[in-house]
């Protein structure tokens, strides 16, 4: 599989936050869900891909080009959708088209207006008056009009109503149909990722917690439930986000440690949402044990 995006050992630190050794790859023709809690480093990673943030170390390659040296060339092949509109919001779509056209050698005016029509967007109304869903569609229409090979979306579905979210996901699924284009889709709404992503990268506290196929993630973890007394100490250590109740416990467990578990314990497949919740709980547990130690 040819990778359209490769990140190797990306490190970037700000005051109070650091991305540490972030590495993952997105193959051509697939959608990758880039998930993590707010503040986990998703936007910093995306800003680094776009050369808006300068990594302290590590290498980012897009279309086989270096993100620092060839950023202009890279951006010509990128479709970028942020959670808010970055275009001049007092202009209508016709003027926006006139502004963007010269920047892209592959720009197709016909495609832009065809997409606007298909998305039901008016071309004579200031884009600042569009709803959030319409703004997303406008940015996507722009991306599709210059034949972007990689679409990067940063939290596009947050704040969208269910219908607009559904439409957006359909557009993305259609976008990669020719198997030449890919999507990197950052979100904390995991239901969207479960629906359309082929690959998932989970970022937690600035580090990659998991990166692989959605199926691998689903098969790698289970939610374990039962009575604490039935849980062997060796397995207890492997539990992630252990949470004890009056009548039992719940925790996330890597499937590698399922063998030999007492029959009294129940386990079921973990959803991405549950995985994120248990990772966060693990953090909380670690902080609590550190406080106790102090």
């Amino acid at each position: 599989m040819e990778n359209i995006l490769e990140i190797n050992g990306l490190c970037k630190s700000y005051e109070g936050f650091a991305l540490r050794d972030v590495s993952f790859a997105l193959p051509k023709g697939y959608i990758m869900g880039f998930v993590g809690q707010n503040g986990s480093g998703k936007t910093t990673t995306i800003r680094s891909i776009l050369n808006m943030a300068h990594p302290d170390s590590g290498k980012i390659s897009v279309f086989g080009l270096d993100s620092r040296k060839d950023s202009v060339k890279i951006r010509e092949g990128l479709g970028i959708v942020f959670d808010s509109l970055y275009l001049a919001d007092h202009l209508d779509a016709k003027h926006i088209e006139m502004q963007l056209r010269p920047f892209y050698s592959d720009w197709s005016k016909e495609e832009f207006f065809r997409r606007l029509k298909a998305f039901g967007l008016p071309d004579n109304k200031p884009v600042g008056e569009f709803s959030k869903g319409m703004k997303m569609k406008l940015m996507i229409a722009a991306a599709l009009s210059h034949n972007a090979r990689l679409m990067i979306l940063d939290e596009p579905t947050s704040g969208l109503d269910p219908v607009a979210r559904d439409e957006l996901l359909d557009i993305l699924t259609e976008y990669i149909e020719d198997e030449e284009r890919s999507v990197l889709f950052s979100t904390h709404i995991t239901a969207d990722v479960e629906r359309i992503a082929d690959f998932i990268t989970v970022l937690h506290n600035g580090k990659v917690w998991f990166s692989g196929t959605k199926d691998d993630l689903a098969e790698s973890y289970v939610v374990l439930k039962g009575s604490e007394e039935d849980l062997p100490a060796a397995v207890r250590e492997k539990c992630i986000g252990f949470h004890g109740y009056r009548n039992g416990f719940e925790a996330l467990l890597p499937t590698d440690h399922l063998a030999g578990l007492p029959g009294e314990l129940e386990h079921e497949k973990a959803s991405i949402d549950e995985i994120l919740v248990y990772i966060a709980k693990e953090d909380k547990n670690e902080r609590a044990s550190q406080d106790t130690a102090v």
Partner: protein, 227 residues
């Protein structure tokens, strides 16, 4: 250069729907009044400032656009200085042209008698104040060059400070301008025409140089700054 042209076009398209009509009407008024001998065209200099300010501010919702469009960071910075220099110097040049046109008084004879008298009285007033036509043109050029240079320096400082001290910088710039202008206006009447013309030519070239230097310094340093 190609990138710079694209960005200028981008900003121009942003500004035209908002300030284009206003500036167009104002310029038409300046032209018509100049034909009747009224030097209202002097306002085309601040008009240019309005257009410049709107072009850059209206072109985007956020700085993110610099990370999205396929153009280098340096081109975005150069476009700011190019727009500034073009607007102010073109504004100054237009003010001079309108003023010269107003001196010809091509249609003054068509004005009602009272108004015609007022127009002619204005010339008398300027003569009494010691401000002749070439001197006034020189002063306009000096003003536009001064503003161009000061704003170029302000843009450089604001970019380098990552827009953290914008208000302080603007206030300092405004204060310095007020002091300099009050001194300059006070002394202008005493200056010989030749001196004013030399100062205006020097200011024009000087502002171009300052703008160029500020642009180069900003490009050099901003290379390592994040968007």
């Amino acid at each position: 250069m190609n990138e710079l042209r694209k960005i200028l076009r981008y900003d121009f398209i942003s500004a035209v729907p908002v300030t284009g009509t206003f500036c167009g009407i104002a310029l038409a008024v300046c032209l018509i009044t100049a034909l009747f001998g009224l030097p209202l065209g002097l306002v085309s200099f601040p008009l240019a400032a309005v257009f410049f300010a709107s072009a850059k501010e209206l072109s985007k919702s956020s700085d993110v656009i610099e990370g999205v469009l396929p153009a280098s960071r340096n081109s975005f910075i150069r476009s700011k200085f190019a727009e500034l220099t073009l607007s102010f110097l073109a504004g100054g040049a237009m003010a001079v042209l309108f003023y010269l046109l107003s001196c010809l008084k091509l249609l003054t004879g068509l004005l009602p008698e009272k108004l015609e008298h007022s127009v002619r009285a204005m010339d008398g007033f300027l003569d009494t104040a010691g401000v002749t036509m070439p001197k006034l043109c020189g002063i306009i050029v000096i003003f536009s060059a001064y503003f161009c240079a000061v704003i170029a320096a302000a843009i450089m400082v604001m970019e380098l400070c990552r827009h953290k001290w914008d208000t302080v910088i603007m206030a300092a710039m405004g204060l310095a301008t007020l002091i300099l202008l009050s001194v300059f206006v006070d002394k202008t009447a005493e200056l010989p025409i030749r001196t004013v013309i030399i100062i205006s030519a020097a200011s024009f070239l000087g502002s171009l140089m300052i703008s160029l230097i500020c642009c180069q310094v900003t490009c050099r340093i901003s290379k390592d700054l994040e968007i």
